[in-house]
Symmetry: C4
Subunit: 125 residues, 4 copies
């Protein structure tokens, strides 16, 4: 490995966690993920800030991504400093002290079967 790939600042503009799921399988529950890759040899300290349409931002949510690891984080699971509201438009800013790569994926199972969307997030140093 030469140097870590990625950027230290990422944004996802379309955040939305559906409120219901047609399936009881946890893998098929409606959820939204920020998949984070750290290819480097140094752990990355990551902070996530959530933005809304009608209130001040929430966060920072803090997590670590170890060296040479990926974390597929579900926004559904965030609860410190507060839970992410369901059925509520939001957006996120993801900042790291080391280069990382971020991809957003949503699984929407309000109606069976589920629908998927995914995109590499927007980055800018």
């Amino acid at each position: 490995m030469t140097h870590a790939i990625g950027s230290r600042r990422w944004a996802i503009a379309d955040g939305y966690i559906p409120s219901s799921s047609a399936s009881d399988d946890p893998e098929l529950a409606s959820h939204e993920s920020a998949c984070i890759l750290n290819t480097g040899d140094t752990p990355a300290k990551v902070e996530i800030t959530l933005f809304f349409s009608d209130r001040e931002p929430a966060g920072p949510y803090r997590l670590a991504v170890a060296a040479r690891r990926t974390v597929h984080l579900r926004f559904n699971d965030l609860d410190d400093p507060e839970r992410v509201p369901r059925e509520t438009p939001y957006a996120s800013l993801i900042e790291s002290d080391m280069p990382i790569v971020v991809q957003q994926t949503r699984l929407d199972s309000r109606q069976p079967p589920h629908a998927l969307l995914s995109t590499i997030a927007y980055c800018q140093e």
Copy 2:
């Protein structure tokens, strides 16, 4: 927060609003969104121009995105200076006086259940 993330000029090439929806739930109505994030401390004035295959562009459509807020704008709801035609290919140019991040998402519920697509839009200063 250091400086706002984003760009002042964005484009979405594949615009299309399906004409029908299999569901009566407004959340599941066929729609297309431009999700806009303003992480900065200054409100952003945004202008959207729509392009078509066989006529001159429409717009500008004007909106504001307040400081530290996100707007998940449905193209379906635009009506000033004119409504966005359904079942008609279009594209959009989104210009702002402040850095913003733009992501396009379409929910297509012509047939139940719905399908989703999403991508970070193209940006260039």
Copy 3:
């Protein structure tokens, strides 16, 4: 309008036209599109080259995108110099003499209801 947004060289790596469609509605037939936006005041001359896994490239396919217009081109409709094979992995290089924006979208209706995918293409001058 100041200057046109976009790039002159674009690529889509995942090309694939499903062979069948569960619907008789032409809008819901399985298809793959390159949506091209020309925001400038000069018509764009566009050339598309198709790449395959086991043969030399096909093309160029030529089209024009008028000033301030979008073309949502279906790969299904290309037939000069040759038709695009179905159920066959391909990729495309899209070159223009003027700046354009390119987005790929696939509607796959082999099984009802349809699935969608979309991404802004890759660009590099």
Copy 4:
């Protein structure tokens, strides 16, 4: 053709191969692909490294993409030096000695009909 389009280093943060498929059709089996395009006149030597949440990376997986060809690689088919685990979050780093373009696509057919996601991967020299 002037010069090859693309980059030598690409990353996909959201890797996941569903464990089951509702269809017996191999085309509709759940799978994840890295679609690689080499528009240049020189063969590209490609190495893929896989990252996980709780173990050291796997690989490199080696493949060649001939001049003026595309390879739509299924992660499902990789088995040297080891098989890609199912139902397990992973991410990938794709490095090449020549410029290439990489796009990720997943077909998820755990429930019929299938869902699709796709995005141009992240690149950085």
